[in-house]
Symmetry: C2
Subunit: 363 residues, 2 copies
């Protein structure tokens, strides 16, 4: 099926079905709130912070923001990716019937290697984590082109079935379950603590959800889930060395297919995939994509570690960084949210880092 038609069949009900399937295998990660961060986000930036931006000399925006942090850094393997992976494999088993199920059982029981292709410059913690689960890790260059070449080689040598990392129907539906849980947990939380929102407990859902965009599976999945709801979905990317390929693609009206960035958001160095692009470039599904600098990512990460006491990797906080530091986004919230402000769901996508990496970032 062509990407356009495939994108059309990505519906909220597919995400619900994915959730039913993967629920026994994943954690329902907590949805946290934090008054300190709400306070910082709801305070105008200093005029100094706007220097060198298009907003220099203008009055800084004064939005009202209440955060709801979905902690996928506490998901199994420390990232939302467990959702897509379980869904892809469970669907494989369903589609291929008992034969595949028997194979899966056999491969686990008999320790038949699963081949994982990953860039050799991946962070130590991700390589170590992967080695702990996979029996064979194959390294590739850092771009998606280089990675796909190694994947093709491994497949031709082994006959292995490819489970793609992000640009895949089942992966997208799996990642979309993050959105489903955010909505459920937000409504539950408000029913119990109506004071957490200026909207009261009436509960018509979050005003917005923002997720990081690397390959785009998480954002496309979450956007699929919210596509029939009033909640607006946004994406966030690092701007360093052009890692904001999705934002730039949207601006130019054409997908950027190659990225070579060494942003500290190491999970966001890939260009957005073809199918994900179909979803994300659909204005009815994704409202906009915003970029932040390396320093802004670090400032957001410091706040999360020091104030929320939660360990996140740099990639995980780009959405928060947009809310705190991207003046264009903050103006939208000020204008559309008005005095009541917005309740914004932030997806902390992962927490795979090391104490050494934290030390290096902030030394």
């Amino acid at each position: 099926m062509d990407p356009q038609s495939l994108a059309q069949s990505l519906t909220p009900s597919k995400v619900h079905a994915a959730h039913t399937l993967i629920k026994p295998y994943i954690h329902r990660t907590p949805l946290l709130t934090n008054k300190t961060l709400n306070g910082i986000a709801s305070t105008p930036q200093t005029p100094d912070a706007l220097k060198g931006t298009p907003y220099e000399g203008q009055t800084p925006a004064n939005p009202t923001i209440r955060f709801f942090f979905k902690c996928e850094n506490l998901q199994r393997i420390g990232a939302f990716k467990a959702r897509g992976a379980f869904h892809a494999l469970l669907r494989l088993i369903e589609e291929r019937g008992n034969h595949a199920q028997a194979l899966a059982l056999a491969s686990t029981t008999l320790n038949i290697p699963s081949y994982i292709v990953m860039p050799s410059i991946s962070t130590t913690s991700k390589i170590e984590g992967t080695k702990a689960y996979a029996t064979k890790v194959v390294f590739s260059g850092s771009t998606s082109t280089e990675r796909e070449a190694v994947v093709a080689e491994v497949q031709s040598q082994t006959g292995a079935i490819l489970v793609p990392p992000y640009d895949d129907f089942n992966i997208i539906c799996g990642q979309g379950t993050t959105g489903l849980e955010i909505e459920e947990q937000y409504l539950d939380l408000l029913a119990q603590n109506p004071q957490l929102s200026a909207h009261g407990s009436s509960g018509s859902g979050l005003d917005a959800v923002i997720t990081p965009i690397g390959g785009g599976g998480l954002n496309a999945g979450v956007a699929t889930f919210f596509s029939d709801k009033k909640t607006k979905v946004f994406g966030a990317e690092p701007s360093f060395e052009g890692a904001d390929d999705c934002r730039r693609g949207l601006e130019a009206g054409e997908r950027v297919t190659s990225v070579k960035s060494l942003t500290i958001g190491d999970g966001l160095r890939t260009p957005v995939g073809l199918l994900n692009w179909e979803v994300i470039s659909d204005k009815k599904k994704v409202e906009g994509v915003f970029a932040v600098t390396e320093e802004q990512i670090k400032a957001a990460m410091r706040l999360v570690l020091e104030r929320m006491k939660v360990v996140v990797e740099p990639s995980a906080v780009v959405g928060l960084a947009v809310c705190l530091f991207n003046e264009e986004f903050r103006r939208i919230v000020e204008k559309e949210g008005g005095e009541e402000g917005w309740d914004i769901g932030i997806v902390f996508s992962g927490g795979n880092t090391t104490v050494e990496a934290i030390g290096k970032l902030f030394s």
Copy 2:
């Protein structure tokens, strides 16, 4: 009242009363479990790890341990100390009646300074955090003798009422509410997820709880709460430069009154207070106190940050370090817990650290 009689009147019901009083002002912090850490704790240490200890050459202990982490690093101001402080002030208001209440209201409203005396070598994050709440911070030397001298001076100059940091009846009852919540949350958790314990959901309480010991208020309070229950209470200290004053005092049969240690567990550099000593040296209340090295504290801290994705300060993990690395303690668990093992409550006492401090620790 003399310390012995005062210690006698520290009863579980006093802790219950304290909890009722402070409940509206504190967070009910989560109680977390973690399979990875249970697995590590339930695996014998390597023979190498025992080199240079009295257990060198012997078979490493093989205890079965399931952890229940009480996250007081997520408490208001990032540490359990909010409990004691709220309790002490609320009791002051109760005892002194409307006059004190009016004074308290007035001092908050009018921003009348509260004088906080703290060692000048305190960590940056603690100084900054304190300055954010107090209007006047006075610095002292690093030992408790030096600190008390400055306190006396401030009192004589200002007529301020002293709220002592740890060696105080009301502070102890306040900190003890940590134990009350651990028990409640453990029983709730087991009722919902009996598989979390080998003891099933029958729920006769935790086998043990272990807390850090600095001034000893937290440990004495928790021990007070559990004094009429089967749960055993243990204490943990850093051994570096004699910071294990409580453990050494118990060994010698006499309280150590002065400590000068620069252990990375900066919350644990004080000698145990007189009233706390009365509680902790009572074998019916505290079963034993164990010490760990700086490297063991760092190893435990790394595990909590990297595996649990939770930010803790070094002081917070000495209890976990004892469970993982103190062979004497591990032998007790192996012997007394047998095959079923022990459910151990660990108090993460605080999370006030910075990304720079984490970087420096692990560089």
